[in-house]
Amino acid sequence: MSYIIQINKFHGPFDLLFYLIETNEVNIYDIPIAEITEQYIAYLDVLQEFDMAVASEFVLMAATLIEIKSKLLLPSKEKKEDPREELVNQLLAYKLYKQGAEALQISENKESLFIGKPAEDIQIEETVSEQLSFESISAYDLLYALKGLLKKHPFEPQDDLIRIEKEEYSINDCILLISEKLQLLQRINLIDIITIHNTKSFVITVFLSILEMSRLTNIQLVQDKLFGDIYIQKA
């Protein structure tokens, strides 16, 4: 299992190659290709056993190494370019940015000692009330209003007996009541109506009648702000 840990610490073929060059203490400008290639492929074998997907990235480098090795073996009459040159070039470029990465890591650690706050979601309440039209009030807004109300005025059962209450208020009665009120006032706070009679059946009836009235577009429901009070006004 220790193999995995060892292998995973290489972030790419150059990283592995660099590691080999450093541990073998060889001159980067005069890499003993045969030796390094052999070691590289040995690592690759281990790597492939564990992770094929990652290993594929290392295979190209192995092929390059073998190509260079074979070029070096071929006898050449005239003095040609060193086939290792391009590889060395790439290795040096990689080394440069690896050095940059290490320098950045130091900066990262240094800067992490200075603590800054993340941006806070500061919400400042708008003083100008934005009027939401009925279209933008969903059934959920009504539900929230009802929930809030029930929280403020809990309808605790009086005793263990289950009471079946007579329907004291009909939807028609409530519609009449709201219409009457609307004759007198510009807008009515929903809470004001509901709290006329503090019984569950009345609250429910009022809600149903408001829904009915808005369906018939007799009234408009207005909310000044999110989760604010709901007002009833003439359409």
Binding site: Y29, N89, L92, L104, E108
Partner: protein
């Protein structure tokens, strides 16, 4: 202009905002010229150096942020959970290093230098807003060019790109690259 008033306003804004705030934005809020705000900020950051202060005004590119003093880290850190630090992986640092020193740079160039594909890492770095696409290269395929952001400077505590740690460029490498170019 009341200098003290402006300083006080800047301090309030930076404190409330928390994260690095753009100089543009400050200038707009205060209705002042950018260079005036910069001068005020420079003066302010000097006064924060006073030993009795626990906060510093730091500048990262065109952004400014209030941060606690590093010398007080041990005491402040007591309040934090130990896993607060979420540092970048070595692969991410590698890619970031190439982008930082070589920008603007294409993905292919980054892949070439690293010898591995960097798609996933670039996506992560873009998400973290440490890098951004600065433009397209005028070549077939119009590859995106990547560069670092002010967020990058803030993350590594750099005032500007000039403050990037200098690299010991191998003389042989530059000569090799020169030969390649010619």
């Amino acid at each position: 202009m009341d200098l003290d008033l402006m300083k006080s306003r800047i301090e309030s804004i930076l404190f409330a905002w928390g994260e690095p705030l753009k100089l543009d934005e400050l200038a707009k809020i205060l209705n002042l010229k950018k260079h005036t705000v910069r001068d005020i900020l420079n003066e302010m950051s000097q006064s924060y150096l006073c030993p009795s202060r626990g906060i510093l005004l730091k500048q990262f590119g065109d952004t400014y942020q209030l941060k606690t003093k590093d010398s007080n880290y041990d005491q402040v850190a007591v309040l934090f959970k130990t896993n607060r630090r979420n540092s970048l992986s070595s692969s991410a640092l590698e890619a970031l290093s190439i982008i930082a020193y070589k920008q603007p740079v294409t993905k292919i160039e980054i892949d070439m230098i690293r010898g591995v594909k960097s798609d996933y890492i670039l996506k992560t770095l873009l998400d973290k807003e440490l890098i951004r696409i600065t433009g397209k290269m005028d070549k077939p395929g119009k590859p995106s060019l990547y560069g670092t952001t002010d967020q990058f400077l803030a993350y590594f505590g750099l005032g500007s790109l000039e403050e990037l740690p200098t690299l010991n460029i191998d003389e042989k490498l530059t000569s090799l690259e020169k030969r390649k170019d010619s």
